[in-house]
């Protein structure tokens, strides 16, 4: 370790620690960066992501907001419009629905409405996803909703390194960025580069190379897809796993290149299957030259057409799991669909 220069050193951090490190680095480097959100101060945030930052940077820069999602998000938009770089934490991504007006009508559109004369460099952090038993209003995956909004950028880190790199990239971006963090990943550990590490926005990553089929996944589904791909490899099925990383902008080229190579595509995501990320990616392929390389129908694996249930068995069954990904991928690879 000593031989590795400090700024590229890889340490093992959790996803939450990596996000916290990114916030601290940004706040050290730029006094315009502030944190806003409900209970992010001494409480440390509902998922402890901002723990102790208030001690380091003070309550003026780590601001507990009232339980006012619309107003709080709007204050962050207004502050971003006038020189600050706020990172606004929604306690749960579900609560962003209270602030849709400010996110969609204001943050996303101000630059355009004002003919390029305004910039809104705000970052929204949104703890997201199911698996915690929190049921219908605290477990949703609504990232695709924002994929429909020109003016926003929508990211989904799957690893601690990306969680850090995306947050720092979002802060460097002059437009509003929404980062959907998966609650079940907060404790996941992984190598994280030290220093000002940036993950490029809009670039997918091929996490595993393969030749028989392509699995495009995001967030926690990347890990489930990788596990399924590992099992399939023992049967001689070679699955390529593409980590989407960015929903908007979406990385057409990486997806299409993989489909051209394998001829089979499966999209795995935690949002409700209908009208989701899978539909967009399927349509992208169908509209592109990669269409000619498709040798089987496209498969989508998304959440059940129901709110996220409370009962743990129901909850598990409502979203793609390693087993369901594995069996669907096997059918696709064996030409059974």
């Amino acid at each position: 370790m000593n031989a590795v220069p400090q700024d590229t050193a890889l340490r093992t951090l959790s996803y939450a620690e990596a996000i916290r490190e990114a916030m601290a680095i940004a706040m050290e480097a730029d006094p315009a960066v502030i944190l806003m959100g409900e209970d992010i101060g001494v409480y440390g945030g509902a998922f402890q992501v901002t723990l102790d930052l208030v001690d380091r940077f003070g309550p003026d820069r780590v601001m507990d907001t009232p339980i006012s999602e619309l107003g709080g998000a709007g204050v962050a938009v207004g502050a971003a419009l006038t020189g600050l770089k706020p990172i606004f934490e929604f306690q749960f991504s579900d609560f962003a629905m209270l602030a849709m007006e400010q996110i969609v009508n204001q943050a996303a559109k101000l630059r355009y409405m004002l003919g390029g004369e305004a910039s809104v460099p705000v970052v929204f952090r949104l703890p997201s996803g199911s698996g915690t038993g929190a049921a219908a209003q605290h477990s949703q995956s609504i990232e695709a909703w924002f994929g429909h909004v020109p003016g926003l950028k929508v990211l989904q880190p799957s690893t601690p390194a990306d969680a850090k790199g995306m947050l720092l990239a979002a802060l460097a971006d002059p437009d509003p960025v929404m980062i959907f963090e998966h609650k079940l990943l907060y404790k996941m550990k992984g190598p994280v580069p030290a220093g000002h590490h940036l993950t490029p926005i809009g670039k997918a990553a091929v996490r595993r190379e393969g030749s028989d089929l392509t699995i495009v996944a995001g967030s926690i589904m990347v890990h489930r897809a990788l596990e399924a791909a590992g099992r399939l490899a023992t049967e001689g099925i070679s699955a390529e796993v593409v980590d989407l990383r960015s929903i908007r902008p979406i990385d057409h080229e990486t997806i299409l290149a993989s489909v051209r190579k394998t001829g089979r595509l499966m999209v795995v995501y935690e949002g409700v299957k209908a009208f989701g990320v899978g539909a967009e990616i399927s349509a992208l392929v169908a509209e592109s030259d990669a269409f000619d390389f498709l040798d089987a129908p496209i498969l989508r694996l998304g959440a059940a057409d129901a709110p996220v249930p409370y009962n743990p068995d129901l909850e598990r069954a409502s979203v793609p799991q390693v087993d369901s990904i594995e069996s669907a991928a096997r059918r696709l690879a064996r030409r059974e669909v």
Binding site: G71, V75, L84, E101, Q106, R111
Partner: protein, 337 residues
Amino acid sequence: MTASDTKMTDNRPFAIRAYTPDELRGALKRMYLIRRFEEGAEDSYMRGLIHGTMHLSIGQEASAVATCMELTDDDKITSTHRGHGHCIAKGADVGRMFAEFFGKETGYCHGRGGSMHIADVKTGNLGANGIVGGGLPIAVGAALSAKRLGKSDVTVCFFGDGANNEGAFHESLNMASVWKLPVVFVCENNQYGMSTSIRRSTAVARISDRAAAYSMPGVTVDGNDFSAVAEAVHLANARARAGDGPSLVENLTYRWRGHSKSDRNRYRTKEEIEMWMGQDPITRFRTELIAHGITDEAGADAIEAAAVADMEAGIAFAKASPAPDVSEVTRYVYAEV
């Protein structure tokens, strides 16, 4: 500004005491310019030269001009769908405004915004807003920026009586007060939210009564009395700049025209409209200036003629301006790199 040390014996209106004759004549010119600008816009609209709809503030000119009397280009305003007057009062050029209304590339928003999103960021106007209450949290955010960045700027948040029943009003006033932010909430109460009267929509007699709920001063003034508005906003600005937090000023006024150009005026009587037209804020201010020797009839006529000339030059500029290139329909969605 010489208001603070005026003699107790000086019974002249606040504005006459506080501002120089040049400043007062300039204010009259801006009021005429707003009136003639909106009449010119209305005429262009009826001739089919302007697309969409527009919301005219004819009859409310004193509120816009008196409120912006002491603001510099560094002070911010957030405006409303009825925002032409605010834009001119804050110093915008009517040629670029007309160009925007005509959808031209030379418009303030390069033809992307139109009447409802008219803005001039360089003079501190963060934009008219198509969402009732949309600007309230943004104004609080702008005030947060000023405080965090150590500036003495104030943000004036214009909103209408309709917005006082939006959730954003409650959240914004509460946060501004909790954080003692330099923002002045200026409610232009023109007594109707579209067709619904304030009596039928609002539980309190005066909107300024609501200030008490947020521990901030609230005052209701005759919004057609230039001096009364100027004085109330002067006090609120001083409080904001001193770091004592926000205030709520309610300017009681009336729009002569319908809500928008689609309004068939079924909810107001001709008598009511005529009564308010007898309270023309421009006539009242003109009379006041003549009475105090700031100008005379001939001088006031010359000021009005100059406003008409500006308006006509603005229309000519707009008509001669180029339209946006349709191939650039997605320009200004994101920052250009």
